[in-house]
Amino acid sequence: MNARNRILGKLRTSLAGTVPRPDDFDQTLVTEPWRYAPAERVSRLRQLMEAVHTEFHQTRSADWVALLAELLGARAVPDLLVSPQTEHGRLVHAYWQTRNDLPRLHAYDRPIEEWKDELFSHTAASLTGTLGAIASTGSLVVWPDRHEPRLMSLVPPLHVALVRASQIHDNLYEVMQAQRWAANMPTNALLISGPSKTADIEQILAYGAHGPKDLIVLLLEDA
């Protein structure tokens, strides 16, 4: 603890006789330039996400599972990681039972240590929900949990994310306020704005650096 006390002691000595600066945070600066009419919200989210190679589909509650099946089929994806415990997972399972030509479904239902190799080597795609999206930056809000753990949106080369149009917020500040983040931060909270990318070689943009090579967003316009 010596280093701790020495560091804090030095800092306190340096500040002796002073008071903290007042909190003059101005939320208008991070909200007002970043507000959108409802229709514009979707188009901005889509435009920004597509600009960074996200595949974006506007669909409806009744149609999205079939669309998912079609998209996975077109890519010849062999398997899909999806949680049977979520509402969207149950819909997928129900639909999958009506057909036999669809990718194999499996669940992230054990600690990572028990199936790390399978996740890293034999999982082609995943489907997760989101807590919504952010129009100003083109981002998905993802809070991994027991049913959809952290690595689900990271390790498989293809990540499909489900977004409800009613849950698109204008900007990050408003999401934090609306969802009361400061009072209940999860162990891991994420903003995801496209598939993984890098420009570390000659500033040439390449996708699929370490995370998913592809990100598909299914936007439920009626949800």
């Binding site: 006789g17 002073t18 008071v19 600066r21």
Partner: protein, 277 residues
């Protein structure tokens, strides 16, 4: 800058000064002081004289305090604060009347307008003087445009042959004095003058006062790039409102045996609007 913190505890954490509002300009005065700057004094006196002539033509009486020498910037930027302060202290009392002080250089004007207040932060009486000087210090182009409200349009009597010029704006004019657009506006008023842009126009020419002698390799690479850009712009001549930059740019062009040269904005304006070449 420290002047903003005089009422806070000396060890209080600083915030950046509030953004400068657009400067409010006074009515055209009857008298002004000219602070010539040491580089102009020795190497470009005609730029100082042409500044005087331009101002006189606007009906202004120009006063040139003979006690003036240097604004103190070379020592200030080299870390010799005490020496800079002594020189600043010698300049401050020269401007006794409440007249504007016009400076044909963005960097020396910046010294008056910003850094004297830093130098005298701990001397209340001098600080007040420094603040008053800052209020009435103007860079020449800024003064001509916004205080004299000069208009050269339709009044050309001097050289009228078409000429292409490249404008180099000093970093201090650009970033300390916010006067980088004034030169453009003045040039735009002149008949037969076409201003051309050059590559990386906003980039430093590499002068930086003692930087050019402490780091000659880096400074030399910068002025080489700058002069190359100026040459490739197709300009017949270069115009700048700072003689430090001009000394750097012209010295480099001469060393390279290039014919292109830079001239102070005051001289260019004077020659294009009726003055003798």
């Amino acid at each position: 800058m420290s002047e903003l913190f005089y009422d806070a505890a000396p060890n209080a954490t600083r915030v950046a000064p509030a953004r400068e509002l657009p400067r409010q300009y006074p009515e055209k005065p009857s008298d002004i002081y000219l602070f010539g700057t040491c580089v102009v004094d020795l190497f470009f006196p005609e730029a100082g004289m042409d500044s005087i002539r331009l101002l006189e033509r606007e009906g202004i009486r120009v006063h040139f305090p003979q006690g003036q020498s240097c604004c103190g910037q070379p020592a200030y930027t080299s870390g010799y604060r005490g020496e800079a302060k002594a020189v600043a202290r010698a300049q401050l009392p020269l401007f006794v009347e409440d007249w504007p002080v016009v400076v044909p250089s963005g960097s020396c004007a910046g010294m008056f307008r910003h850094h004297y207040q830093d130098l005298f932060a701990e001397e209340p009486a001098m600080l007040l003087e420094a603040q008053q000087l800052a209020e009435r210090t103007f860079e020449l182009a800024e003064f001509l445009l916004h205080v004299c409200k000069v208009s050269f349009v339709g009044t050309q009597q001097g050289q009228a042959d078409p000429v292409r010029v490249a404008l180099h704006t000093s970093c201090t004019a650009r970033r300390e004095m916010n006067t980088h657009l004034h030169g453009r506006e003045l040039l735009a008023q002149l008949a037969g003058v076409e201003r051309v842009e050059h590559d990386h126009e906003s980039e430093c020419c590499g002068f930086g006062g003692t930087f050019s002698v402490r780091m000659p390799d880096i400074s030399g690479a910068m002025v080489m790039d700058k002069t190359t850009a100026l040459r490739e712009s197709g300009a017949h001549q270069v115009v700048s409102a700072d003689c430090g930059c001009l000394m750097n740019i012209n010295g480099s062009l001469e060393k390279q045996n290039q014919a292109l040269r830079g001239q102070h904005l005051a001289s260019f304006l004077w020659q294009r609007t009726g003055g003798k070449a």
